[in-house]
Symmetry: C2
Subunit: 587 residues, 2 copies
């Protein structure tokens, strides 16, 4: 018996979704539960330990759809080559790039005492792998990527999949022969990322970012604006600027300089050679931004001492510089402080006045809402809370130098020809968790059609063989682009039609088809998905076609507020496929 | 620009397969290298450490195709629900089932000193997960499965992906309410496994097997016959029997009983209560089979003592049974030994004659080729070397009892209603590695069409834009069931046509389309894939259509021996798609 027919016969024999909910959740639960708790109770994910999750069938489908979009985009636009690197990476490789000391790595030993980590990212491994394939300029540019599990031993896992210890990530790595080619690749992959989020129809913002532990000069983060997010992005409102940056990277200036009359805070640091004591002065009411501090010193700062107390830094400075003849002191003044501000005492007694320097007028503190944009010096910065969902880095030679990956150029030389790398990550499970958080409402989840576990649910109070329900499901299953996207057998057999509808809405299925006995031969379609309107199209697309097709389809539409669904359509069942295409076009 | 058009324009701009070979491998290499080395050199996998591998683009495609077949079969036939469990499982769970002591588990601690293992199989985790979903008889039967990475800290990883420390496995778990439902599920999933291997068109044999560490009563292994395999299967040649079992499970009898005149070996063991000394006597020239020994004692044997020496077992027996009044001695005689055989001395001096028992006429040794089948007692057993690629277990309550997973029955009772489980594994990377080993020849790899990385390669000496090559590739890309299966851009731009053909054949691509300037407007097709003939069809299917379509397609065919390809077809290029369908139908 062909599989499809057998499946149709099994249709109503039993509810197959052992791992889904057995009953709809109560209104209070849908309204009050956190999004991670909703995802758990609706059968998307199951938490096993702090920061560790099993992915259940609905979650698998959602993740699978996002993965499909990423695969298609990277392969079509960037000739991405798909790999899957081992999850176990060796200590030797991570020591070569100085990252083995990272305390968030899960580490283990095999029975022969060899040491491994579970991969957190794969710069080391991919660089070592590509070193064997990229030997000539002809082998570049190239983009290699994978989608798989990554591990990070977070001390405080929280917010469900948003900050987990095992998570799914797409990580891509580019290889180019010079700065121009590397910049083009960086641009191209960032364009692809924008396409991916465009397909999801979620409002993602690009922000210039700090490259942190990964390294490199240029770095862009992708953020979903979300009031409950842990990040802050600052956007300049000046038309010709519009610069967006994370608060770790943003430079701001006060509306008027040197206005702060209050207490001044100081942070001591040392230059890279430890021969200069650097004193950063800034308003006590603000937060020192280490990136800005480092930038004020043109990078000449020992970041290893960043977390040390002022006392520890001073002690180290005095110990390493017994002869004060050769040591210097530099005072760096945030532009917000005033000469009459309340400065702390300077703690050193013996130093040479000639070795004393000062830098003025720089911005050292984390930007705040309402300040002046440090890029255009005109616009006002607006701060918004957000969640980071993707990150791209132009790495230059950070990994290829320590691992000695060079190529032969046209002149057959390989001296100093280090390959230029980029790396690019999309937090797959993080996107799912944050989109769920962004779009959920008091009625439950609400997925964009592109990553909904199913785009369509079909429900009925009679799901027996040869029922009208059976007819509708079979009809939809014959349509290739809809056939695998129909949730019809997942509800337990004894579940009432009302309960099926509630569960479909709560699970965030964009459209629910209701096959009722009274409306037949018409069916009802409740729309829970959000229509995304476009420029020049202030209304959902279906409204443009409503007048001309209404009669032909026997189609009525009403809209509703405050219900789990916001539109209800009734249509002749034979025209259901066309209506579904129209409705899903902008969801 | 739509992605497809852009891709076509990029077609010949550069070779994109950074991770593939840059030149074909020499004849000597193809002939003499081991299969794991071939898979590495042809760009399927890359070994990073003993037993650890990166999967490269060609390997990813091959694995992806096998995964696709498994997904489709399990979902259509068994309503399989797809999950992905965490790779990190807790010590507590594995201690509950007594498996934490396994020395082949990779173990690690997180920063809070919690202990985890990397999952080797997931019986513990799936049982704990389903315990929350399966609470009533209405929730069963159910099949839950995943395809993902598993970990085993093999002391001696070898043969590439055949015995790796990180590997891809499909593991499915079934849940049923009683023995009959569990047996049906076991049968159904085994039927699906047979379908999967049938699609691969490889000769897989089912053998009754020992359930080993996993547990349960019924167990079936799937084997690929292969002279270099590590396993041995024994097949009865009697028409009405045909029993197949692994040599760990097979029972055999000698052609004539009690013929062995040589030395007799003895193995001492203790009953479960340690009050009985069991002495197994068997021909010194043969190997004692512990499963048969245990079966002769009807299971009353302490397997923990299996690896102890005879001296250790005797010492323990005497120590624990100082009063010989209550201890017994049983002698179990393999049917091959003779009362006049050369027996070893009996080592105990003091025992009660009345407590002495004897079991005769059983088979205790590992079956050998040519012996009589122990199931039908008529046929002859034939031994063959093989590789195990899949394994199914009827587990009964082995995991649900210790983890206390019970269901409520129709009478609303849950007393002693332990859920009956089954588990089912297909070694995904193992299948790939063993099929490669089975079908490779002196010209390289040779894939069945179902899991070939690409089913079709298109090569030419002119791959420029608007070339004939371009025309052919575009034509094939418009055909949905072929469009994603064409290898055309993976060869470096400077590679000669002959080198492209060699590389395609060595990589095991079933058909290679050659767009040459001399044959145009006809194209040549070299067939490397193996045609699988069917009952009543002793010839490849294309031969049945050759006469009637020859003229219409302008089609010529010649066959060849000893070449990397065994057939060459020439056809009008506009009929290439039809010819490819005909050729691929039985490959």
């Amino acid at each position: 018996m062909p599989a499809l027919i057998r499946t149709a016969q099994q249709l109503c024999r039993r509810g197959i979704a052992t791992l889904g909910p057995k009953a709809p959740l109560g209104k209070q639960v849908l309204k009050e539960e956190t999004t991670p708790a909703l995802l758990e109770q609706l059968g998307f994910f199951h938490k096993t330990q702090s920061g560790l999750f099993h992915m259940l069938p609905l979650g698998m489908r959602t993740i699978g759809k996002l993965e499909g979009i990423i695969h298609a985009q990277l392969q079509a636009n960037n000739d991405g080559e798909l790999v899957a690197l081992s999850s176990l990476s060796t200590r030797a490789l991570w020591e070569a790039t100085g990252r083995w000391a990272n305390t968030e790595l899960f580490k283990l030993k095999d029975s022969r005492k060899n040491e491994f980590c579970l991969v957190a990212t794969c710069e080391e491994d991919i660089t070592a792998l590509l070193a064997q394939s990229i030997t000539s300029y002809k082998d570049m540019p190239a983009l290699v990527y994978q989608i798989g599990r990554k591990y990070r031993d977070e001390l405080r896992p929280r917010s469900g999949l948003l900050r987990a210890r095992e998570f799914v990530m797409m990580d891509a790595y580019s290889f180019a022969q010079d700065d121009a080619a590397a910049a083009k690749m960086f641009q191209d992959v960032n364009d692809t990322f924008a396409e991916v989020f465009h397909e999801l129809k979620v409002p993602v913002v690009r922000a210039w970012a700090d490259s942190g532990d990964i390294g490199g000069d240029q770095s862009i983060e992708y953020h979903l604006p979300l009031a409950t997010g842990e990040s802050t992005i600052l956007t300049c409102d000046h038309g010709s600027c519009g610069h967006v940056a994370t608060n770790e990277k943003a430079v701001s200036f006060p509306r008027q300089e040197a206005q702060a009359q209050g207490d001044v805070a100081v942070k001591y640091a040392l230059s890279e050679d430890h021969a200069t004591l650097v004193c950063f002065y800034y308003p006590d009411s603000r937060q020192l931004n280490w990136n800005l501090a480092k930038s004020a010193m043109e990078g000449d700062l020992d970041s290893a001492l960043r977390e040390r107390t002022n006392e520890q830094v001073l002690a180290q400075f005095q110990q390493e510089n017994e002869d004060m003849m050769f040591s210097k002191i530099i005072r760096v003044m945030d532009c917000r402080i005033h000469s009459r501000s309340n400065f702390p005492d300077f703690p050193l007694r013996s130093y040479l006045k000639n070795n004393f320097g000062q830098i003025d007028g720089v911005s050292l503190v984390t930007a705040e809402d309402g300040e002046v944009c440090g890029v255009c010096n005109e616009g006002t910065l607006h701060a918004a809370k957000s969640i980071e969902v993707a990150h791209t880095f132009n790495l230059d030679t950070k990994y290829t130098k320590p691992l000695d990956v060079r190529y032969t150029d046209k002149n057959n030389s390989s001296v100093d020809n280090y390959v230029k790398m980029g790396c690019y990550g999309i937090g797959v499970t993080r996107v799912i968790a944050s989109v769920a958080e962004l779009l959920r409402d008091q009625h439950g989840l609400r997925w964009p059609a592109a990553i909904a576990p199913y785009r369509i649910a079909v429900v009925s109070n009679n799901r027996g063989e040869n029922s009208n329900f059976d007819t509708v499901v079979k009809q939809l299953k014959t349509i290739p682009h809809l056939s695998t996207d129909i949730m019809s057998r997942q509800f337990p057999p004894s579940m009432s039609m009302g309960a099926q509808i509630s569960l479909s809405h709560a699970s965030g299925i964009p459209v629910t088809v209701i096959v009722g006995s009274r409306s037949w031969p018409r069916v009802e379609v409740e729309v829970r998905g959000r229509h995304w309107t476009h420029e020049g199209q202030p209304e959902p697309r279906w409204k443009q076609q409503y007048a001309s097709l209404r009669e032909k389809y026997n189609w009525d539409a009403t809209t509703s507020k405050d219900a789990p669904f916001h539109e209800k359509h009734t249509v002749a069942h034979e025209h259901l496929p066309e209506l579904l295409d129209i409705l899903l076009a902008d969801m």
